[in-house]
Structures are given as structure tokens and as C-alpha cells.
């Protein structure tokens, strides 16, 4: 497939497809099925879709209960609303190691005009603090589809962080948990970009290399915040002096923090990790372009920052 597609839509299409093969998959939504795209599953398997109304907490508990019966529930809402029910996720899903897949859409400032209340900006920080939870963030359609099938087959809770905005296709290697696909070779510096940030980081790295800034960053798709794979991370920390993690998420506790924590604790040689994201501030209304620009999350801003 070519052309741009939002990962929320990739998710909806993938779940509708995999519903055929995996009969235990069921899906819940809390009155946002047209936005999370769970409606694609709902239309195909109405008996296995549960419209819960605007009851995220109850949806989380019901999904946990269903998972104890052998079902594989996917629960969908905006990442902000879903992970905002932190205690329900912590207790009913995390502590019980319930086989529930959490789908958080509309993550990051790139959702635009709806403003802060609808933006998932702390979701990774919250989810990765829960033992048992796997935290994934696809960067394009193919990867999202692979992650959905991986999540179906993984026993335990998974949080999948998705975008509202459309993303290009990158033709990356198949998803293997803990291995970040590499998109550009480089030296000394590695750009580790997450989800919707991958295109901007890649363009910025290519720009820096072309313009003779003396910098030629390698670029990886940091598609997983937890659990990081020790071998892969060790190779990364061995090879690059500076790791820069880009995310449309607060820098407090996000993927950048996860990588900084790993490197500071485990790298054989001290390495610098730069967390490049939303700097401990709330979101607001604006066009996606204006908001990304304000937070420095565009190729131009990234290029300027490292020039």
C-alpha cells in the first residue's frame, strides 16, 4: 500500500481482518468507535463488539473479566481518556496480568484543534510504570498491522499508542519486539524517533548530512518503550555517542526517559541521551502544523536545533 494513513485507521483495518482468524478477539469502545476506527471491527463482527457508552472505567473492568474467560479483548478510546483511568488499568488489568490490549488513539499535540483535554501526552509514562505492560508505538501502517497481530498472540496486557494524523509508509523490517528498525545509516549520533515523529526526524537527519553540518545521524524507529531489549540497547549505546529520542509526548517519563534510564544504568561508556519532545507543558488548540512547530517537532526545527 502506498500513500499516507493514520495508525488508528491501520489498527481498525487490521483488527477487522484478524477477527476472522482469531475468533477469541473481542472489541470494546466507549463512544468513540468512529474516531478510534474500532467501527471497522464492529461492522464486521457486531456480536463481538461492545459499545460501552462513555464508561472507560467500566469498560476496562468488563474487558478484564472477559479476558479471564479466555477472550482477547481490545479496548479502544483516546489515549488520554483510557490511560486517565490509571487505577483501573493498574489493578484490573496490570496486577491481574489480564490479557487485555489497550488501544490509545489521538496521541500527541498533532491531534490539533481539540486541544489539551483530548491529547494523549502522558500515556506512555503512565503505562510503562505498570509491571506486565508492553508499550508499543507503530510508525506506519504495515508496522501497526504487525503489532496488532503480535498483541493478539502475546499473553498479557499491551498498550498500543496511535496517531490521529496520517503517516507515510517507510517499508521497514518486520516488527520484532525490542529491535528498532533502522531507516538511515550514520555515525556518532542516533536519532530514535517514535510514531508520528519518524518522518520529521528522518528528514532532519538527511538535511543535516547534506548540509555539511558535520553531523550525520543514524535514524531508528523506536517503536517500543517497554520492555527494552538489553542486547539491542547495548549495541546502540556501544555504537553511538549521542542518542536523541523524539516523541510527541511529554519528556517526563516517555520513551526518551525509558532509554535514558537504560543507558545511564547499563551503558559501558557514559553516553548522552537527549529527550526531545513536549517539554513538561500542556497542549492547546491550534492546527497540527502550528502545534508541532511550536513544540519543535518538525524537520526544520529539529535540523536547526542540531545545526
Amino acid at each position: 500500500m502506498s500513500g499516507k494513513i493514520a495508525t488508528r485507521k491501520s489498527f481498525g483495518m487490521a483488527l477487522a481482518d484478524f477477527g476472522e482468524k482469531y475468533k477469541d478477539v473481542v472489541c470494546f469502545d466507549a463512544d468513540l468507535s468512529k474516531s478510534t476506527m474500532s467501527i471497522l471491527f464492529a461492522k464486521k463482527y457486531p456480536g463481538r463488539f461492545f459499545e460501552m457508552g462513555i464508561q472507560e472505567a467500566n469498560m476496562i473492568g468488563c474487558a478484564a473479566g472477559m479476558s479471564f474467560m479466555g477472550k482477547i479483548p481490545f479496548i479502544c478510546s483516546f489515549g488520554a481518556f483510557l490511560t486517565g483511568r490509571f487505577d483501573q488499568i493498574r489493578m484490573s488489568i496490570g496486577y491481574a496480568n489480564a490479557n487485555v490490549k489497550l488501544i490509545g488513539t489521538h496521541c500527541g499535540v498533532a491531534i490539533g484543534e481539540d486541544g489539551h483535554s483530548q491529547m494523549g501526552l502522558e500515556d506512555i509514562a503512565l503505562m510503562r510504570s505498570i509491571p506486565n505492560m508492553v508499550v508499543l508505538q507503530p510508525a506506519d501502517d504495515k508496522e501497526c498491522r504487525e503489532m496488532v497481530e503480535w498483541a493478539i498472540n502475546h499473553q498479557g496486557p499491551v498498550y498500543l499508542r496511535l496517531t490521529r494524523q496520517e503517516l507515510p509508509q517507510f517499508n521497514m523490517d518486520k516488527f520484532i519486539p525490542g529491535i528498532f528498525p533502522q531507516l538511515k545509516m550514520g555515525e556518532k549520533m542516533a536519532f530514535l524517533a517514535t510514531g508520528g515523529m519518524l518522518e520529521a526526524a528522518l528528514n532532519a537527519a538527511e538535511g543535516l548530512a547534506k548540509k555539511g553540518t558535520g553531523k550525520n545521524p543514524a535514524v531508528f524507529n523506536a517503536n517500543l518503550a517497554k520492555p527494552l531489549a538489553d542486547n539491542f540497547m547495548m549495541n546502540l549505546a556501544d555504537k553511538y555517542e549521542t542518542l536523541v529520542v523524539f516523541e510527541d509526548h511529554t519528556v517526563m517519563g516517555g520513551t526518551g526517559s525509558a532509554i535514558a534510564e537504560w543507558v545511564s544504568q547499563n551503558a559501558k561508556i557514559p553516553r548522552r541521551v537527549i529527550r526531545y519532545g513536549v517539554n513538561d507543558s500542556f497542549g492547546e488548540s491550534g492546527t497540527p502544523e502550528a502545534l508541532l512547530d511550536k513544540h519543535g517537532l518538525t524537520a526544520t526545527k529539529i535540523e536547526n536545533y542540531f545545526s
Binding site: G53, A57, G61, G65, Q88, M91, S92, A96
Partner: protein
């Protein structure tokens, strides 16, 4: 016929109360008040020839009636009843309550003890989990029932009212919630902390079949919990916090404190002497 059954149950109950008190005393922490108030409720469900259809010899069989203890702090009662009805929880293990490494955590943990259906203790969540199990049985066209026991303090949680709204909409005639209405919570009497009344009217208006019973009467509990209805059911069981130990009864100070050696001795004497509680009307 049932009267004989209830006499047998009432005969078993002092041992359950004794275990609860000893477990909490041994751990020197726990919740005797709300544990003693729900003994008859949980035993009516799980006792031999009780309301729930399940095989204690195959406790993890997928298809069976299920019970969720949403008021997780009353888990000593659940553990003691599970042990009494034949699950592999020995007397020794009962006394490991709240100790490091024990399957019998201070609040139920299904990852360690699979006989508890849900990990509870953060109030309000067990009701939703029970709803999800009931939905799953409906999805698979299986006729098993799901029960969940709530506390009256717990009913102040918003999530309970999400279930109140949702379960009738989902047409869950296989779901029964039971309220252990012992009228007390940590900070004092429930009607002083945050009143629930008029409780029956509230649940009825949400579309539930509501019964009110004496929560210490086996015959009343058995009748109400055996009842079938086209709607989800709420059984409001009027109980006494600390039931069976005179100095604990109705006293919210005993919500979350363990008896000392002397208090335990007095309490054990009282529960051993009283085989009539479940036969009250």
C-alpha cells in the same frame, strides 16, 4: 428439607468465623468487621448444595458459576470459605494470611491464587469484572451465573454506578450483585460519611431486580440468591459489622484492626458458642 441444610451450614459457620479471627490475629492486621458481616452471604453461595453451581474438585473449570469479591478487604472470609468447601487451602496456609510469599494476600490476587476471580482491593472494580464475565457467558450462550459482593462504602464509588447503568442495558440476567450492607466504613457510619439511601429505589429505577434480606439468615439469602429474573439482580443484604463477636458488632473501630491475644480469646469463645446466627430471621 432446606431447613436441615441451613442447620448444617449454621453448624459449619462458627469454624469459619474462628478461622477468620485467628488469621487476622496472626497477621496482626486485617478487617474483621467487614469480614464477619459477610460470612453467611459467601457461604450461602459456595457451601455444599449452595446457590452456586460449580465443582469444588474442578475449581478452575471454565464453565461454572463464578463469584467476585469486589470488597476485597473481606478476603479472610473468602479464603476461609474456599478452604472449608474443599479447595486446596490448608489450615496452615490460612494462617499465612498477609505473610511474605503467601498466596493469601491482604487483598485478593488472582495471579497468585487462581480461585479468586479478580484482583480486588481498589473499590468499585470487581463489579465491572463480574459484569465482563457475565457478558462473556452471554457471548458464548452459556447459562452460568455470576455473583459479586460489594461493600456499602464501596457503593460510593462512581464505577459501581457505571455498572448500575450498563448491566441492564446489556440485558445481563445472569449477573447478581450483593450488597453487604453493614452500615459502617472506616471513617464511621455509612449514613454519616456519605448516605446511600434510598438504595432500593435507586437500583430499581436503574432497571435492576432488587431484593432486601437479612444478610445473616441462610433461608432468606438462599431464597433471594436462587431467584431467577429477566433482569440483573441486586440483593441488599442487611448485615451487622463484626457479626458474632459482641464487642465488635456495629463498631466501626473494628473495620480495620486486629484483635490482641485477650480479645481473640474472648472472640473465639463467643463464636464457638453461637451456632444460631445463620438461622436468624
Amino acid at each position: 428439607m432446606n431447613n436441615n441444610l441451613f442447620v448444617q451450614w449454621a453448624d459449619q459457620t462458627p469454624q469459619i468465623r474462628k478461622n477468620i479471627l485467628q488469621m487476622i490475629a496472626k497477621a496482626q492486621s486485617g478487617h474483621p468487621g467487614g469480614s464477619l458481616s459477610c460470612v453467611e452471604i459467601i457461604y450461602t453461595l459456595m457451601a455444599p448444595n449452595g446457590v452456586m453451581k460449580y465443582n469444588p474438585k474442578k475449581p478452575l473449570e471454565r464453565e461454572r458459576d463464578r463469584f467476585v469479591l469486589s470488597k476485597g478487604h473481606a478476603c479472610p472470609t473468602l479464603y476461609a470459605v474456599l478452604s472449608a468447601v474443599g479447595h486446596d487451602i490448608s489450615q496452615d496456609e490460612l494462617m499465612s494470611l498477609r505473610q511474605l510469599g503467601s498466596r493469601l494476600q491482604g487483598h485478593p490476587d488472582r495471579a497468585r491464587l487462581p480461585y479468586v476471580e479478580a484482583s480486588t482491593g481498589s473499590l468499585g472494580q470487581g463489579a465491572s469484572i463480574a459484569q465482563g464475565i457475565a457478558m462473556s457467558y452471554k457471548l458464548d450462550s452459556l447459562n452460568h451465573r455470576v455473583f459479586a459482593l460489594l461493600g456499602d462504602g464501596e457503593m460510593q464509588e462512581g464505577q459501581i454506578w457505571e455498572v448500575a447503568l450498563s448491566a441492564p442495558h446489556q440485558k445481563l440476567d445472569n449477573l447478581t450483585l450483593i450488597l453487604d450492607y453493614n452500615k459502617g466504613q472506616i471513617d464511621g457510619p455509612t449514613n454519616k460519611v456519605l448516605s446511600l439511601d434510598p438504595l432500593t429505589d435507586k437500583w430499581r429505577s436503574f432497571g435492576w431486580e432488587v431484593s432486601e434480606v437479612n444478610g445473616h439468615s441462610y433461608s432468606e439469602l438462599y431464597t433471594a440468591l436462587s431467584k431467577k429474573s429477566p433482569r440483573p439482580q441486586m440483593v441488599i443484604a442487611h448485615t451487622i459489622k463484626g457479626r458474632g463477636v459482641s464487642f465488635m458488632e456495629g463498631n466501626t473501630d473494628w473495620h480495620g484492626r486486629a484483635p490482641n491475644v485477650k480479645e481473640l480469646e474472648l472472640a473465639l469463645q463467643e463464636v464457638a458458642a453461637n451456632r444460631q446466627i445463620g438461622l436468624s430471621n
